[in-house]
């Protein structure tokens, strides 16, 4: 029980220890003096009286010590003493301390890298005042992950008719567009946005409600990120105009650093939502049907559930009003209705933290393996040292130290080292993150950097520090506890005689540790081998169409289409060009091919006749489209080889007719494309199969319909002469002059490289981890074996003197490691293979498995060979050293 008095007494003891000690001394000496006085009064001579009093009292030191123990600050006292002792022992063996700190620091650093990234997405809340009041109003996610959004009119009604929010704003985010020839990210917001989040600009003004009225002001407000990325933090940026969709927009304000607008990554600028059509021309004229996000500041004191219920009630009233009050709700449906609104806390972090955690868990596991191996190394080292320190520990035990006390002291020692390692780990993680970002941006395919990928070294904050300290403590528990228990399991008397206690030779623990290390290295190396093989396969992968010198050009601005196509046609580097809808990187439209009575699901897209020429896709049977057929009136199609086989297993396809029906549930409507009526079409040709990309979520269509290059909603694909990167730059220059807001333009080579790029990143990450793992394992194995040889010098000498050959001795030492290494390898391969099997069995995993060859036998065998070779190497040197021992000399030494 801790009372207030107790606390004040303890505090006093801690804060003024001198005074407390003084008082204690006074109190005890008074007792002795008083007793002496009594004895003198009873007639004893003074010197005898004093001696008797002292004898009756016993040792004042011991009594004082017991009083201190009662005082309850013994814990602090002991810790201070332990720390001092630990520092002394580090000075005695600085190399050991250094090795432990470095090893654990590498492990902690690797894990900290991952945590810093995770921290950025999950925990770093936006700097918005009272951010806990911010909630998004959303409809629940459907089973397929889709979410039906609200519209601007719905938002206006919600703002007018409900009273759960202090105020609420609407936004449309993630708009990537070319502004003044550069790709920027914009978020459109209602005029009250900045007053809802309560953020003031560092320069100029924020958006105001007046800006957002229809026919309001064409103004934008820069984020700190946009200001530094595109305007080099120019202090005179206010009043400058940029062209968006051909309309000049004035920069009226700059927002403070650290404000992200409740998004994970800040946009470059904010603009009034009323200007939607300038930013997304597809919505021109039907702005009211565009989906918007709704985020509000909950009234203080209102519970989230109460607010949700109010909005849901408002929503169902509104629903029945718009459906004319028809009774559409049966019992169960009305319960469903109650769940049509969810309130989602908005913190500027990932909206689905659980999904992010699911992604990060295996990564933490992989990165944590390094820490695990490092800790195992240190544990082994400490085990070895424990044997060496048996004498010291034996002495202390026989002097009356309790085993608990010594274990605590050993743990304090390790904890201190781990804390130092946490500091080192922090430095390592900063260094690693810096170089990762550097290499990632350097090796990224050229024009990919043109996009809005936000690559910067994530900042570390107090959470990273806390994480490191906790991880360091956990690591201490793992690497220090077992050796401390082992080291104190000694018999004082025998150790004092200089005998090593047999029981304390921790052979089994050591083997388990080696096994764990080999296991972890095996897992990581198999992973890196798999990624390497997949990256190699991917770089040789043939998507089935020409990618070296082709490019894709998005046309976003319909009124500018003719001028754009004209510019492309007159560009001398362009040899041929074609139109395609949907674009090359989009999923083709879904539909059905009805042959007789059977309907087959197929993917189709519209291409101009030059498409097959641009991409070098041969027509294997029949003919290509003629220029006359591009008007779209001719009911002719070209089908791919596999589609022909699927639809007409016995015929060759050419000349067949079938009915092509669009899938009404397909996303063609969402993509805002003209709908295609069902029609009867004739196959005029069969094109060679195109594999398509694998990592991008696209697939080549099986059926091609003719279309003109000037048709709306098409993208342009072109074949260029000379260096594609150069042609890319020329085209960007030329086309941004036609339309400064033009969409994406990328070489196909980049798209192809992107696929390899990701695999290469995965390969390098797992290779670095795998090599670290192997390095740590090998060095651990080496030091353990060296130590064992040193320990058994005498035994080996005797064996050799009795006639053991040096070969036999070598084998003896190697045999020490065979079992743990074999077990580790088996476990590693077993786990890797079973993980792979599980992955393939998952529906999402099957797609990954197509690209990442998780069961590649060469990868498994190669990494196993590497590990076995490395372990042999590590064991070889100690083993030969043992074999080269001179038996006479070793025996004489004893």
């Amino acid at each position: 029980m801790i009372t207030f008095r107790d606390l004040t007494l303890r505090l006093r003891a801690l804060l003024s220890p001198r005074q407390v000690e003084h008082d204690l001394h006074d109190e005890l000496s008074f007792h002795i003096e008083r007793e002496t006085r009594k004895l003198i009064e009873q007639g004893m001579p003074p010197h005898q009286a004093r001696a008797t009093a002292q004898a009756r009292f016993g040792s004042p030191t011991v009594v004082a010590d017991e009083c201190r123990d009662e005082r309850g600050i013994a814990f602090v006292d002991n810790t201070v003493r332990d720390v001092r002792f630990a520092l002394r022992s580090f000075r005695r063996a600085p190399l050991t301390a250094f090795t432990i700190v470095t090893t654990v620091a590498v492990g902690l650093g690797v894990v900290a890298v991952l945590f810093t990234i995770l921290n950025r997405f999950l925990f770093r809340a936006d700097s918005v005042p009272d951010i806990s009041e911010m909630y998004g109003v959303e409809r629940p996610r459907l089973a397929n992950g889709d979410q039906s959004p609200f519209t601007r009119p719905a938002f206006d009604a919600l703002r007018r008719e409900t009273s759960v929010f202090t105020d609420v704003y609407a936004n449309v985010g993630d708009i990537d567009l070319r502004v003044d020839g550069r790709m920027m990210a914009a978020t459109l917001v209602t005029g009250n946005f900045f007053s809802v989040v309560r953020i003031n600009p560092v320069m100029g003004r924020a958006l105001a409600p007046a800006d957002d009225e229809s026919g309001g002001n064409q103004v934008i407000v820069l984020s700190d990120k946009g200001w530094s990325r595109h305007f080099t933090r120019d202090p005179n940026v206010l009043g400058r105009t940029v062209l968006v969709g051909g309309t000049p927009f004035e920069i009226v304000g700059v927002m403070p650093a650290g404000f992200r607008g409740l998004e994970v990554s800040a946009p470059d600028f904010w603009a009034p939502l009323a200007q939607l059509a300038q930013f997304l021309p597809a919505h021109r004229g039907r702005e009211d049907s565009a989906g918007v996000g709704i985020i509000g500041r909950l009234k203080p004191g209102l519970s989230m559930e109460g607010a949700r219920a109010q909005i849901a009630a408002w929503d169902s009233n509104r629903e029945s009003a718009t459906t004319g009050g028809l009774p559409r709700a049966s019992g169960s449906e009305s319960r469903d209705r109650a769940e049509t609104i969810v309130l989602v806390p908005k913190r500027g972090t990932l909206p689905q933290p659980m999904e992010a955690v699911a992604i990060f868990t295996p990564l933490f596991f992989a990165f944590g393996l390094i820490l695990l191996i490092g800790c195992a190394n240190v544990a082994n080292l400490l085990l070895a040292r424990g044997v060496a320190r048996q004498r010291e520990i034996g002495i202390r035990l026989s002097l009356g130290a309790s085993r608990r006390r010594i274990i605590r002291q050993l743990m304090t020692e390790s904890g201190l080292l781990a804390l130092a390692a946490a500091g080192g780990g922090y430095l390592i993680s900063r260094l690693a993150l810096g170089s990762i970002v550097y290499f990632a941006t350097r090796t990224m395919p050229v024009d990919f950097g043109d996009s809005n990928l936000d690559i910067a070294v994530p900042a570390a904050d107090w959470r990273v520090a806390l994480f490191l300290v906790i991880a360091a403590m956990a690591a201490t528990a793992f690497f220090a506890l077992m050796p401390a228990l082992q080291a104190t399991r000694v018999e004082p008397v025998r150790t004092l005689r200089g005998e090593l206690v047999k029981n304390a030779r921790p052979g089994r623990a050591r083997n388990v540790l080696i096994g764990i290390q080999v296991f972890a290295s095996a897992l990581l190396l198999i992973a890196s081998a798999i990624f390497l093989r997949s990256a190699m396969a991917s770089s040789q992968f043939d998507p089935g169409f020409r990618t070296v010198d082709t490019m894709i050009i998005q046309v976003v601005n319909e009124p500018k289409r003719a001028a754009m196509v004209q510019a492309i046609a007159s560009e001398p580097t362009v040899t041929t060009y074609a139109a395609v809808r949907p674009g090359m990187l989009a999923w083709p439209d879904a539909g059905f091919a009805a042959v007789g009575a059977s309907r087959t699901a197929i993917l189709y897209k519209f291409v101009s006749p030059e498409y097959f020429e641009v991409f070098d896709i041969p027509i294997v049977r029949g003919r290509s489209f003629t220029t006359a057929e591009r008007d779209g009136e001719h009911p002719v199609v070209i089908v791919s080889e596999s589609t022909a086989r699927k639809l007409w297993p016995n015929g060759n396809g050419v000349g067949e007719t079938f009915r092509l029906e669009p899938n009404p549930g397909s996303n063609a409507d969402a993509k805002d494309e003209p709908s295609m009526p069902a029609r009867l079409v004739t196959v005029i040709g069969v094109s060679r199969e195109v594999a398509g990309f694998r990592i991008l979520d696209t697939k080549e269509a099986g059926i091609f319909l003719p279309i003109s290059v000037n048709a709306p909603k098409t993208a342009v694909v072109a074949r260029v002469k000379g260096d594609p990167a150069l042609a890319h730059r020329t085209l960007v220059d030329r086309l941004t002059r036609v339309d400064p807001n033009m969409g994406m333009i990328a070489t196909m080579r980049t798209v192809v490289r992107l696929e390899t790029f990701f695999l290469q990143i995965a390969f390098w990450v797992s290779l670095v981890l795998g090599s670290l793992a192997l390095l740590l394992t090998v060095s651990g194995l080496f030091s353990v074996l060296s130590y064992l040889v040193a320990q058994r010098t005498r035994e080996i000498g005797v064996r050799m003197a009795l006639g053991a050959s040096s070969q036999k001795v070598t084998r003896l030492i190697l045999a020490q490691t065979t079992r743990p290494v074999a077990f580790g390898l088996l476990a590693g391969v077993g786990l890797a293979a079973s993980l792979a099997t599980i992955l393939i069995a998952l529906p999402a995993g099957a797609m990954i498995a197509e690209v990442v060859r998780v069961t590649d036998p060469i990868a498994y065998v190669a990494s196993l060979l590497v590990i076995v070779a490395a372990c042999l190497l590590a064991a070889w040197i100690p083993a030969t050293r043992a074999a080269r021992l001179d038996p006479m000399q070793t025996l004489r030494q004893e």
Binding site: T3, R5, D26, E27, F30, H31, R37, G58, E70, R71
Partner: protein, 109 residues
């Protein structure tokens, strides 16, 4: 010195509290008082008296004050607190129950 029976475990705290029931005393006086009243049957091991005093102080059952003693030098006087009084009542009750029970067993068993 004739061997003396050890104090029953756990009774030292109770004896200290009881001794302090009337007035504040310093450590030596407490041990003297116990010895005196028990007619020298209970002699408190002086070494164990002080840790006990510090323990009781930390529990909040007694509080200490420095005052000038009969020797003319300062000494630490302990006094019962309200919580200490309650604790003493509890321990007295418990003790009586125990000693009655033991007495009955010794008489009738």
């Amino acid at each position: 010195m004739t061997p003396r029976p050890d104090l029953l475990p756990g009774t030292l705290d109770m004896l200290i509290l009881r001794t302090l029931q009337r007035d504040a005393l310093h450590g030596w006086a407490i041990s003297e008082r116990i010895q005196e009243i028990s007619q020298d049957v209970l002699e408190i091991n002086q070494g164990s008296l002080y840790p006990a005093l510090h323990r009781l102080e930390h529990r909040g059952w007694i509080e200490a004050e420095w005052a000038v003693s009969e020797l003319g030098r300062r000494a630490k006087y302990y006094r019962l607190t309200a919580a200490g009084r309650r604790q003493l009542a509890v321990e007295t009750r418990e003790w009586e129950r125990m000693s009655n029970a033991i007495g009955r067993v010794m008489k009738h068993a």
